[in-house]
């Protein structure tokens, strides 16, 4: 019986074949924590009384959620993380001014590579599956254990294959494909399983769109969202990688728990209604939804390609007088590039606000919290009750194109409506 990419990567790290359902303890290549999850891990790690972490170059810490410090408590947590990084000489600690949203930053820095096993105390660690790696979110105690031993326990997941055929309609992006997929299978449709995205449409996607898709695997309950590394991947990683990497392919006779096929020519831009990412509708069926705020950013859609699309829609236009648009480039490098390309000018001309990289509003942390009864359209990944603020506020998820167009219109609309 053949093996899937997930089984091959886990097997390669075990030095033997592994099969779904098996519980293994395996070496990891990279372990990640942020300002919210690392403090809990530090408390646990310190109890062990060790002098060092398993490998100071393979632990990555990024304060991004409540950083730049949103208040005194956040400042305390960031300080705790900073001091830990210093004490254990963590080489990949990214301070404010050098940081970005973790899942945009790590690939950009070449820290995560094809064939890796990457764990992160953040559920969207699955983003790196877009590079052909096995990347998954874990908890803080897991992170503490990995920082100590370099190993983690896993159940080898079954794999589910998603094949995307045909070609995409105008304005349809990776975000729309993944929202459509989650809409089809539900928020636990891939629980415990490795999702594998393939087909000619995936091969033609940019790395940015691929990251967006893998990012939201967790929104279907997936353990990871893997895309086989190809020319596009190699082009992306070759200038960034500072160590060897390996590309794995699923065998033709690999066993999948399920196979889903999509005809992309029939997929319209998607909007996920409150309060689940699976609550999706094609843009033509959205109806009359008035919005108070737009957010373009996050680990899902805060990359330069996303900002370019937003700028394409916003150029020469103004944000609706009753709407606040917040745009957050995901990393410092993206921010700088957006300035050089003139995108930030376009945003400010359009009367949007542009912020330094942070998770901020995505998790209702800071920089754009919603009041009671307010509605936002966001390029983020979760629209749970109260996710961006008041429990009686609402979040609609969509692509940067839809978010930008909606902020001009004041209602959720397709870009054609405002261009």
């Amino acid at each position: 019986m053949g093996k899937t990419i997930a089984e091959k990567i886990l097997g390669a790290h075990m030095g033997r074949d592994v099969s779904p359902g098996e519980l293994i303890e395996v070496d990891v290549d990279i372990a990640l924590g942020n300002d919210i999850t690392t403090p809990l891990a530090i408390v646990e790690f310190e109890k062990l009384g060790l002098k060092s972490v398993f490998d100071q170059d393979r632990v990555v810490i990024v304060p991004d959620h409540f950083a730049p410090n949103k208040d005194v408590k956040a400042a305390q947590q960031c300080k705790m993380v900073r001091e830990f990084a210093k004490k254990y000489r963590i080489t990949n600690y990214f301070e404010v001014g050098r940081m970005g949203i973790e899942h945009a930053l790590l690939p950009e820095q070449g820290l995560v590579l094809p064939g890796d096993i990457i764990i992160g105390a953040d559920s969207h660690t699955c983003t790196y599956g877009a590079l052909g790696s096995f990347a998954t979110g874990i908890g803080s105690t897991d992170l503490a254990a990995v920082m100590a031993t370099g190993q983690i326990w896993f159940m080898v997941p079954e794999s589910i294959k998603f094949i995307f055929h045909g070609s995409c309609q105008k304005w349809v992006s990776g975000k729309d494909l993944i929202l459509h997929t989650i809409g089809r299978i539900g928020v636990d449709g891939a629980n415990y399983a490795a999702m594998e995205f393939c087909g000619e449409v995936i091969s033609s996607l940019s790395m940015s769109d691929r990251f967006t898709m893998s990012n939201m695997a967790i929104e279907a309950g997936g353990k990871c969202g893997i895309i086989q590394a190809d020319e596009t991947t190699i082009e992306y990683v070759s200038s960034r990688a500072k160590r060897e990497y390996k590309i794995y392919k699923s065998d033709d006779n690999a066993k999948y728990k399920e196979v889903y096929e999509f005809d992309c020519s029939r997929i319209e831009p998607q909007v996920a209604f409150p309060h689940l990412p699976s609550n999706t509708k094609p843009i033509s069926e959205v109806g009359d939804i008035k919005i108070d705020q737009g957010v373009i950013g996050s680990c899902t859609n805060g990359r330069i390609e996303d900002l370019r699309i937003a700028a394409q829609v916003l150029r020469g236009k103004k944000v609706h007088p009753e709407v606040r648009l917040i745009i957050i480039p995901a990393t410092q490098a993206i921010y700088q590039l957006a300035i050089k390309e003139g995108l930030i000018d376009i945003f400010i001309e359009a009367q949007a606000v542009v912020s330094t990289p942070t998770c901020g509003p995505c998790l209702g942390g800071h920089m754009g919290i919603l009041a009671e009864g307010e509605r936002a359209i966001a390029t983020t990944n979760r629209n749970f009750v109260g996710r961006m603020g008041h429990p009686k506020s609402e979040v609609y998820l969509a692509s940067p194109a839809i978010a930008a167009a909606s902020c001009i219109s004041g209602r959720i609309v397709a870009p054609e409506e405002v261009l």
């Binding site: 559920s123 908890g139 105690t141 928020v187």
Partner: protein, 170 residues
């Protein structure tokens, strides 16, 4: 271990923002987190729950973020055990890692009501609903997880492993 207590019932897809909203993630203190447990769904929950009671939910309990603050808040507010039709993956491992007993049992979850009294025997893998007088069997934990639980959670397991291997502790 036998846990007997009153049930607090919840529905499908209870997510970690429901269990502990992100604004309260600015602390690692269990007693602080306990004050806000489940307030995304029911603001009265922290004040209603009595130590030793049981939480029962439908499918996909704990979906969403990786925040371990969620099982910690549940454990710290006094819930002795969570029974659900299914759990989201990261929540499941977090609960096991911190020693919060959680049990998958779709039948018991589906047929129990808020306020029923449940008796859960984690060793035998049985759940008894004393109100409806029904008994359910659950799958035992795999051997590896039993070892984790027997060690007292993941960190104890690591401590034992480290002591044996004498890993970089000098």
């Amino acid at each position: 271990m036998v846990i007997k207590g009153k049930i607090h019932s919840f529905g499908n897809d209870v997510n970690t923002d429901d269990i502990i909203p992100a604004v309260y993630l600015d602390t690692t203190e269990p007693s602080e987190l306990a004050k806000y447990c489940m307030i995304g769904i029911d603001p009265t929950f922290p004040s209603r729950v009595i130590s030793g009671e049981i939480m029962v939910a439908n499918k996909n309990f704990g979906c969403g973020s990786s925040r371990e603050h969620a099982p910690i808040a549940i454990k710290a507010c006094g819930i002795a055990c969570v029974v659900a039709a299914s759990f989201a993956r990261i929540f499941y491992r977090n609960a096991i890692n911190i020693g919060l007993p959680i049990i998958v049992c779709p039948e018991a979850a589906g047929e129990s009501n808020d306020g029923d009294i449940l008796e859960v025997d984690t060793d035998q893998g049985t759940i008894k609903n004393l109100t409806t007088d029904k008994t359910y069997a659950t799958a035992p934990f795999p051997e590896f997880m039993q070892r984790l639980i027997a060690a007292g959670g993941l960190m104890e397991y690591v401590r034992i492993k480290n002591a044996t291997a004498n890993l970089h502790s000098k």
